[in-house]
C-alpha cells in the first residue's frame, strides 16, 4: 500500500517528527511504500540544517537523512519554508541571504507535490503535535 505522510509540527515543540519517522519505518518494514513525506507549516523546521541535537538525545536530522537514503522523498513546502528561514542555495541567491539552511536529504517543493502525492497514494496520514 502507498502512504503519504504529513508533518505539521516543529522539532522541539511537537513530537510530529518522531511519530512520522517511526510510522514510516514500521510501514516500510511491512513492505509498504512511502510515496512522500510532506513538511508543512512549522513542520518545515524539521529540515533546518543548523540544529544541534542536545547531548544524549538522538539527532532527528540524521534519522530523516537515513530515511531519505532508503529512498523516501522528504518534500518541504517551499512557501512554508522560506518565510520560516529554511532555504536552499537557489532561494539563498534569490533573496540574498547569507547561507542556505536546508539539510541534506530534504528538498523544497511546491504545494502541488502534497496534492499529487495524495492522488498517487492510498493513505494520507497527518502528524501534527
Amino acid at each position: 500500500m502507498k502512504f503519504i505522510l504529513a508533518v505539521h509540527g516543529s522539532p522541539h515543540s511537537s513530537e510530529s517528527g518522531e511519530h512520522a519517522l517511526n510510522f514510516a519505518r514500521a510501514a516500510l518494514a511491512q513492505g509498504h511504500k512511502i510515496e512522500r513525506i510532506f513538511f508543512y507549516h512549522d513542520g518545515v523546521l524539521q529540515a533546518l540544517q543548523t540544529q544541534v541535537a542536545p547531548q544524549g538525545e538522538i539527532d532527528l536530522t540524521e534519522q530523516w537523512q537515513a530515511l531519505a537514503e532508503q529512498g523516501v522523498e522528504l518534500a518541504v513546502c517551499i512557501a512554508s519554508a522560506i518565510k520560516r528561514g529554511v532555504i536552499d542555495e537557489t532561494e539563498q541567491g534569490r533573496y540574498d541571504k547569507q547561507a542556505a539552511t536546508l539539510a541534506r536529504g530534504f528538498e523544497l517543493v511546491g504545494l502541488g507535490q502534497l496534492i499529487a502525492g495524495i492522488q498517487q497514494s492510498d493513505r494520507y496520514i497527518e502528524f501534527c503535535c
Binding site: A6, H8, G112, I115, Q119, E126
Partner: protein, 119 residues
C-alpha cells in the same frame, strides 16, 4: 477524482496556519480534486466580517475566502454548533452551508484525505 476535505478549526492571524491551509485548498482545486472546506470550533472566527489585514500585513482570511469561487471551490461548510456557541449568525459574505455533527461525520468519512489537524 480524489476528495479532499480541509478543516479550519483554529482562529486566524495568531498563526499563519489557516492562510497556508487555504493555499493548499486552491492548489487541490487546480489539481482537479473535489475540494471541501469545513469551518468548526474557533475556526469559525475566520468568518467574521470587517476583518482587516493585521499589523504585519498578513492577508485577511475573509478576503482569501472571497477568491475561492474563482477556483470552483463551492463545497463550503460550517459547524452550526460552533457558530451558536459563539453567538455568531449564519449569514456570511460567501455561501456556506451550516451542518450538524452527523453530517460532519459523514463528510469526513467520505473523503480520500482530511487535511488540517485541530480541535
Amino acid at each position: 477524482m480524489k476528495k479532499i476535505l480541509f478543516v479550519i478549526s483554529k482562529p486566524p492571524y495568531a498563526s499563519k496556519r489557516n492562510a497556508e491551509l487555504l493555499d493548499a485548498a486552491l492548489v487541490a482545486a487546480a489539481f482537479d480534486c473535489e475540494v471541501s472546506l469545513l469551518f468548526r470550533n474557533d475556526g469559525v472566527w475566520s468568518l467574521l466580517p470587517e476583518q482587516s489585514a493585521n499589523a504585519v500585513g498578513q492577508r485577511s482570511i475573509a478576503k482569501m475566502m472571497l477568491g475561492l469561487s474563482d477556483y470552483d471551490i463551492d463545497k463550503l461548510y460550517v459547524c452550526s454548533e460552533s457558530l451558536k456557541n459563539r453567538g455568531l449568525q449564519e449569514h456570511f459574505e460567501v455561501a456556506l452551508s451550516p451542518i450538524g455533527m452527523t453530517a460532519q461525520q459523514q463528510l469526513m468519512a467520505s473523503q480520500g484525505a482530511v487535511i488540517g489537524a485541530g480541535p
